[in-house]
Amino acid sequence: MNTKITLSGVTLKNPIIPASGTFGYGYEFAELYDINVLGSLSFKGTTKEPRFGNPTPRIAECPSGMINAVGLQNPGIDAVITEELPRLRSVFEGPIIANIGGFSVEEYVHCSERIDKEDGVAIIEVNISCPNVHGGGMSFGTSPEAAAEVTRAVKAVTKKPVYIKLSPNVTDIVSISKACEEAGADGISMINTLLGMRIDLKRKQPIIKNKMGGFSGNAIFPVALRMIYQVYEAVKIPIIGIGGVSSAEDVIEMMLAGARAVQIGAANLVDPFICRDIVNDLPNVMKKYGIDDLESIIGGAH
């Protein structure tokens, strides 16, 4: 039974990766279980400057999911490199995915240059798709030209594999993924959250202070799966599948659609042990469906 996969030359012992923004910088979860069982982890989206994020309430519940409007709260790239990353390295020996956010090409470049020098970081994941920040963020992820511009700029300053994290809030995700590939991206992470909203019936106002936020959780799994399936047919670079995954069965389904690895997001927030449990379940579910080697099923549904 082989659960090993590779992402742009980086070997993961299994394809299970906690998604950015749902796992902090790892050490809260390291108090709960040995996070070295994970294939990798994508740390909390980091920007050039420290950010408090949006006003609260930032969270609203949905059927089979939730909306968040955290707004990239993080201590900034300098503090992440001097404080969070060493702490994360002390509890996790595996390859780390550094998730980078920004409001300008210059910011993405600045953060990527800093991260490029960090040995523990195996992959840079560039978030051009956060729906919760004004004046940028998602705008890079909604046009092929802007997505390509960020990709080229980041690729020019790092030797590490660069994965571009795409937004589903677009008309044609395929053209954006192709633009990233042509601009030199080593891979695609998809999808980020879907823009959503809830209204409080008592106050008759949006629950989220920012009015809208990113919808995630089990409910978005079919949307993510469909988009991964489409993008897999259009690009040759690897895809990290994200969106509503909460079981080993979901992992296999997403890999059949074309994902080489899979990130688990919102599910971590309701079941802090879910990633560990999926890692444990994976060999049993592989056996059930007659799978010996996970590498062999990637894109198998095409």
Binding site: G21, T22, F23, G24, E28, F29, E31, L32, K44, F52, G53, T56, P57, R58, I59, A60, E61, C62, P63, S64, G65, M66, N68, V70, Q73, I207, G217, N218, A266, N268, L269, V270, D271, P272, F273
Partner: protein, 244 residues
């Protein structure tokens, strides 16, 4: 933090919308009054964070207010059902700060955490005074329980139908000197207590949470000591660090 299965031994209404839920299970991770637990409910994505009213080895008591569909479903739960609960969440109150005459102030659904706190402080030989604030007499609960464990209790109601007429601050002037204030309730009440108090204290805040254990940054707030997560660095903040 611990994840555990708890069995319901009691789920009864105390008032029209406050319920008492008693559970059997492993409470070993609940280390301080003022902490909360996070309950998984069938058919709902997010867990429901509920403050700990009382905790003994093997027995957990929660008082919750029915405010939405999740807590409406909780009110329907039957004895013998099991619940997946994360325990030991939040920092809780620091009982070593109390001094000899601590004052505990709970407003509405903010009363429950005062019970375990009062019990711990009385066990240490403190003279504990509790002010419980409600809108009206029909909402008053747990007065007898506090008196039974030896606390001096003042009830206030906004409409004057029981106890002192007015808000909890109306009772603060009657209590006289206290050494420290522990409080939990709606934010306007916390602010009024803050402004009316001449001593230091600990204030428990509420916020919509994602995870309840510090991962999602959904419930962040700014304090004089930097950004904090209500669920993990709070819900209890010291008077000195609060920014209104």
């Amino acid at each position: 933090m611990k994840q555990g299965l708890f069995t319901i031994t009691e789920n009864t209404a105390l008032t029209r919308d406050m319920y008492k839920l008693v559970l059997a299970g492993d409470t070993s991770d609940i280390t301080a009054p003022g902490q909360f637990v996070n309950i998984k409910l069938n058919g709902f994505f997010l867990r429901r964070p509920i403050s700990v009213c009382d905790s003994e080895p093997g027995k957990l008591t929660l008082l919750y207010k029915v405010v939405g569909r999740g807590t409406e479903a909780m009110a329907e739960m039957k004895t013998g059902e099991t619940l997946d609960i994360l325990t030991g969440l939040g920092n809780g109150y620091d009982v070593t700060k109390a001094g000899d005459r601590p004052l505990l102030i709970g407003g509405g659904a903010g009363v429950p955490p005062m019970y375990l706190l009062a019990r711990k402080l009385i066990a240490q030989g403190k003279h504990v005074t509790v002010i419980m604030g409600f809108n009206t007499a029909a909402e008053v609960y747990y007065k007898d329980e506090f008196e039974k464990i030896g606390a001096t209790v003042f009830v206030t109601t906004a409409d004057g139908t029981q106890g002192i007429k007015g808000f909890v601050t109306a009772a603060m002037s009657e209590v006289g000197d206290c050494t420290y204030i522990y409080t939990c309730g709606p934010e306007p009440m916390l602010k009024a207590v803050y402004n009316a108090s001449g001593v230091s204290g600990e204030y428990s805040f509420e916020e919509r949470m994602g995870c309840g254990f510090g991962a999602c940054m959904g419930c962040s707030c700014k304090t004089k000591y930097g950004n904090k997560r209500i669920c993990r660095d709070g819900p209890v903040l010291t008077k000195e660090e609060i920014i209104w």
